[in-house]
């Protein structure tokens, strides 16, 4: 998958899971500060990403932004 493809799919999952406006989701979007999520919300999103891409995400990777999540997912998906 290309980075753009991963980004689009991550964005779709985040928008669906959090019911946020798609225009709010960019690579620089910070989960805690921009989307006002608590750690429980973030883990629920991470769970959906794992299911959606069929990958495992370690929780102590320090993922704070959408861009960091995309980078992580891209590495995992392309390593499969």
């Amino acid at each position: 998958m290309t980075k753009q493809e991963v980004f689009d799919k991550v964005k779709a999952i985040v928008v669906d899971q959090l019911e946020v406006d798609a225009s709010k989701i960019e690579a620089t979007t910070n989960f805690k500060e921009d989307l006002d999520l608590d750690s429980l919300d973030i883990f629920e999103v991470v769970d959906k990403i794992e299911d959606g891409f069929d990958i495992e995400i370690e929780t102590d990777e320090g993922i704070e932004t959408v861009g960091q999540l995309v980078d992580y997912v891209e590495k995992q998906v392309n390593a499969k």
Binding site: E19, S39, L40, E44, D47
Partner: protein, 307 residues
């Protein structure tokens, strides 16, 4: 159109909450002013949240205010459900409990819980992608270290446990050893809905003697029993609610049996809407209202449905 309402518990309160509604919705303003009067507390001032003791009454007043605003235009709902504190908002909306009485009662409930937390300090953690049996086993296995119990059955796959810190840590270890990847500590210092709250439950029992409830006008499903509250059982049920787990996910299934066309969550955040999506699927229309923007959106969408 058949509606069902969900009333928020604690956790998603935000400092400016309700100020836009207060400025624009007369009935909301009237409700908040009444609450402020009864409690001698300026609920419009964001600094009221500096004292955690004020959070429960602020959410109650907001939820009731929102319900009243919606009730101006919408029919009586087919059923209601609240999470923990939200049960009081639901009972007020269902006319089983007088608003003024509820404010003072919830103010005291909040104080009793804080006192109990001082006597029996506790922590809570949410297990994700788990199942109820495994959580029960984990709590059982951790009893050798200390007290820990299932506290909130939120969705078919999310259960919050609560208890003494060492025992919650032990149960967490057990869950992780048995394939549960995520057990997320919650930012609370109280093990609500577990036997650690017994002192609060005892105080609430005494307090309830001076409170009168009437039969709810619509079914309100209890977190504790999962059956609708009745005038005869409501006090005992709310007294046990503090020491018994909440079965919110099962309650959602009961609420779905009244066949609502839409769910409306009232109060800060959309936690309950998410629980409903995970329990009932996403096909059932759901809305949450905690601001002018979300209220306007709901009004537009319901108008469209009505046309």
């Amino acid at each position: 159109m058949k509606l069902a309402y969900l009333f928020s518990g604690q956790g998603k309160q935000f400092p400016q909450m309700g100020q836009d509604l207060y400025a624009q919705e007369p009935l909301y303003r009237q409700t908040i002013d009444k609450a402020a009067d009864v409690l001698a507390l300026d609920l419009k001032d964001a600094s009221v949240f500096d004292d955690p003791q004020n959070v429960q009454v602020a959410i109650l007043a907001m939820s009731v205010g929102l319900y009243r605003v919606l009730a101006q235009d919408l029919p009586l709902p087919a059923g209601m459900l609240g999470l923990s504190l939200g049960e009081y908002s639901a009972l007020v909306a269902a006319k089983a409990l007088d608003f003024e009485t509820s404010l003072k009662l919830v103010q005291d409930r909040s104080r009793y819980m804080a006192q109990a937390a001082e006597q029996n300090p506790g922590v809570m953690a949410a297990a994700l992608k788990t199942n109820y049996d495994l959580v029960a086993q984990a709590c059982e296995a951790a009893q050798k270290v200390g007290k820990v119990y299932p506290a909130n059955y939120n969705t078919p796959e999310q259960v919050v446990i609560g208890g003494e810190a060492t025992a919650v840590a032990e149960a967490t270890r057990y869950l992780k050893a048995n394939g549960i990847k995520r057990v997320v500590p919650l930012k609370v210092s109280v093990a609500s809905h577990t036997p650690l709250m017994q002192p609060a439950s005892d105080l609430l029992a005494t307090r309830m003697a001076s409170v009168t409830f009437t039969q709810p006008a619509v079914p309100v499903f209890s977190n504790t029993t999962t059956a609708p509250f009745t005038a005869a059982s409501v006090k005992d049920t709310l007294i046990s609610q503090l020491v018994q787990p909440t079965h919110f996910s099962t309650c959602l299934q009961k609420l779905a049996e009244v066949k609502p066309d839409a769910l409306i969550e009232l109060g800060p955040g959309e936690t309950l809407t998410h629980f409903a999506g995970k329990t009932l699927g996403r096909d059932l229309a759901s809305y949450h209202v905690d601001s002018m923007a979300t209220l306007t959106k709901l009004r537009q969408e319901l108008e469209m449905v009505a046309e």
